[in-house]
């Protein structure tokens, strides 16, 4: 595994995990979004390790404003993330892209894409807004999903510890489900994003890598 920087002009470089031996098949991996990114990071990197063992290069860049990124998250949107991923695909010389969950919402159009268990932005927001309503209620503030949605679209909203700008919020709300190329039931276990505490399942990582290799074409 190599760690390094991935240029994202005209913005600052972003951190990227790479397994790069200049081989023919090169997969840009777009991570799951927000809290699911944390829950699936171990799984995602282990899956890349399996791809490496199968002779496939891969790269996992940070989405600007997340993980190690110094870019302000409030200034990001699905458009800016798609631009960053398109640039990463070009810099890396990706032949394919694999998206994990909500990562499907910012896939580049420049290379063939495999979507693993994709989800719509509205579904992501629904879960995070519900968590916010529950947390607010525990803290003694009565809010509702409707009020929070209106606030998010107007001026942005802090959800699951992420300060989302209004553009990001509106684009997530409007995004639709992408067709699934690899469904969770093909991996032989429940999705790891369901876990209350981040967890890993080596068998699922192995299976996903195997399916990706089979479906690269």
């Amino acid at each position: 595994m190599q760690a390094g920087m991935c240029p994202n002009p005209p913005h600052a470089d972003e951190y990227a995990v790479r397994f790069d031996h200049r081989r023919g098949a090169r997969v840009l991996v777009i991570p799951a979004l927000f809290d699911e990114a944390n829950k699936l990071r171990h799984f995602t990197v282990e899956m890349m390790r399996k791809l490496d063992a199968a002779g496939v290069d891969s790269m996992l860049p940070d989405l600007p404003g997340t993980n190690e990124s110094l870019a302000p998250l409030t200034e990001q949107s699905l458009d800016s993330w798609r631009a960053a991923m398109t640039s990463a695909a070009q810099v890396f010389g990706a032949t394919h892209c694999l998206t994990v969950r909500g990562g499907a919402l910012c896939a580049p159009h420049s290379v063939p894409v495999l979507h693993y268990a994709p989800m719509a932005g509205a579904g992501l927001l629904r879960g995070m807004i519900r968590a916010r309503v529950l947390a607010d209620r525990e803290a003694g503030h009565e809010t509702s999903s409707e009020v929070l949605k209106a606030e998010g679209a107007q001026s942005g909203l802090q959800l699951a510890g992420y300060q989302l700008g209004a553009d990001m919020f509106r684009q997530l709300s409007a995004s639709t489900v992408t067709k699934s190329d690899i469904a969770q039931n093909e991996l032989g276990g429940p999705g790891l994003w369901l876990r209350a505490e981040p967890d890993h399942d080596p068998a699922q990582a192995e299976k996903l890598a195997q399916l990706v290799v089979e479906r690269l074409s």
């Binding site: 519900r130 529950l134 947390a135 699951a160 429940p190 999705g191 369901l194 876990r195 209350a196």
Partner: protein, 109 residues
């Protein structure tokens, strides 16, 4: 498995049994419990407030997954301590929610 179902089985058909199975499965997936551990949960087993890993984010994920698997919609104001406090409370809520669906089937568009 001992059963303390809130609706008489004859009236409700398989609904409570199916619902209980789905709830155990979702709890197993969310909490990462073994099948043995999850089969030990009974009516009085504490959930929200008793299990430290069930924070607001995890509860939100749990409810969303239950909505998907049971084809129900849970409103903000239906989520409270009674409903989330125990396994029995949550099961009772889910069964009554699904009974509403059966009583008032969604009309085809």
């Amino acid at each position: 498995m001992a059963s303390n179902l809130p609706v008489p089985a004859e009236e409700a058909g398989d609904l409570p049994v199916e619902t209980e199975l789905a709830l155990r499965q979702v709890l197993q997936d969310v909490l990462g419990l073994s099948e043995d551990r999850v089969s030990e949960l009974d009516e009085d087993s504490g959930l929200f407030g008793d299990l430290p890993e069930l924070d607001s984010m995890a509860v939100a994920g749990l409810l969303t997954e239950l909505e998907d698997r049971l084809d129900i919609l849970i409103e903000d104001d239906e989520v409270d301590g009674d409903m989330l406090g125990t396994f029995g409370g949550l099961l009772e809520f889910l069964v009554s929610k699904r009974s509403e669906n059966v009583a008032q089937p969604e009309q085809d568009a």
